[in-house]
Amino acid sequence: MRWGVVVFPGSNCDADCYHVIKNVMGQETDYIWHQDSDLSRFDAIILPGGFSYGDYLRTGAIARFSPVMSSVIDFAEKGGLVIGICNGFQILLEAGLLPGAMLRNKSLKFICDSVYLKVKRGDTPFTNRMREGQVIKIPIAHGEGNYYCDQETLLRLKQEKRIVFSYCSQQGVESTAFNPNGSVENIAGIINEKGNVLGMMPHPERCSESVLGGTDGRYIFDSMLEWLKEMGEK
């Protein structure tokens, strides 16, 4: 099983992701420079958080045209697992691998905090180690996590059960009161139609070791590993 962590100029959570997958989970892991295009040796790709290209123009707008992204799109179309975290989620939106766009946080503040997420699906490659309705605690750190899509897209996301994580209280009550950024429907993470591409604003790599104060992030990476094992190694 081989994991790849894409490095754009300005990525700053790449080393955290690499550390969790390689040292904490003991998986083969490589960095992928944004100029590379051969992803054939990988089973899963992580687009990490950060400020790719300084967030110039719009978050993710320039990274989306990096050479590696056309390979990531091919990889996703062939069914490969792709997770975009924070800036990685923003890049997936700009690339059209997921629908919608990010707006500035409603409060206009950059928010660095821990939030509770409700797991809305327990049957995806990213959530199979959790049960539907479970509440997990994961850190966020973003200024533009206010997910927006038009009504038609939102209806489709709901009908197709593609909202995977939503912001909630510790008890699991989903409401705008617990939504840090103003996202529609309290959305924190969504998947694509095929279910192999996940975008989420919270950072599971920042809570995958007890020394960091939480391990709920491991549920997501462990789910991916479980799914890859079931699918069989390449």
Binding site: A61, F65, L103, K106, G182
Partner: protein, 83 residues
């Protein structure tokens, strides 16, 4: 050389937290009559070209692909200098 001005604005109905904050600040300054503020981007582009029609098409394409995000933004291309 052709010079174009490109205006990128948030689509109607898309929340603009930045515009809201500026509106509130204007109210504090005493501009109580300010009803709404929406903030967009103004981009100047110079093209090595003299064919206005071709340039317009190219500018529309680059706006749609990169300069604006059609999910949340509209854009308007104005060619201001040809020569």
């Amino acid at each position: 050389m052709i010079k174009a001005n490109i205006y990128v604005t948030l689509k109607e109905g898309v929340l603009d937290p930045q515009g809201d904050a500026v509106k509130k600040s204007l109210h504090v300054l005493g501009n109580r009559d300010v009803e709404e503020v929406r903030i967009g981007k103004f981009i100047e582009v110079w093209l090595q070209s003299s064919d206005e029609e071709k340039a317009r098409q190219e500018l529309e394409e680059m706006s749609d692909k990169l300069l604006a995000n059609p999910v949340i933004e509209d854009f308007r291309v104005e060619i201001v200098e040809v020569g």
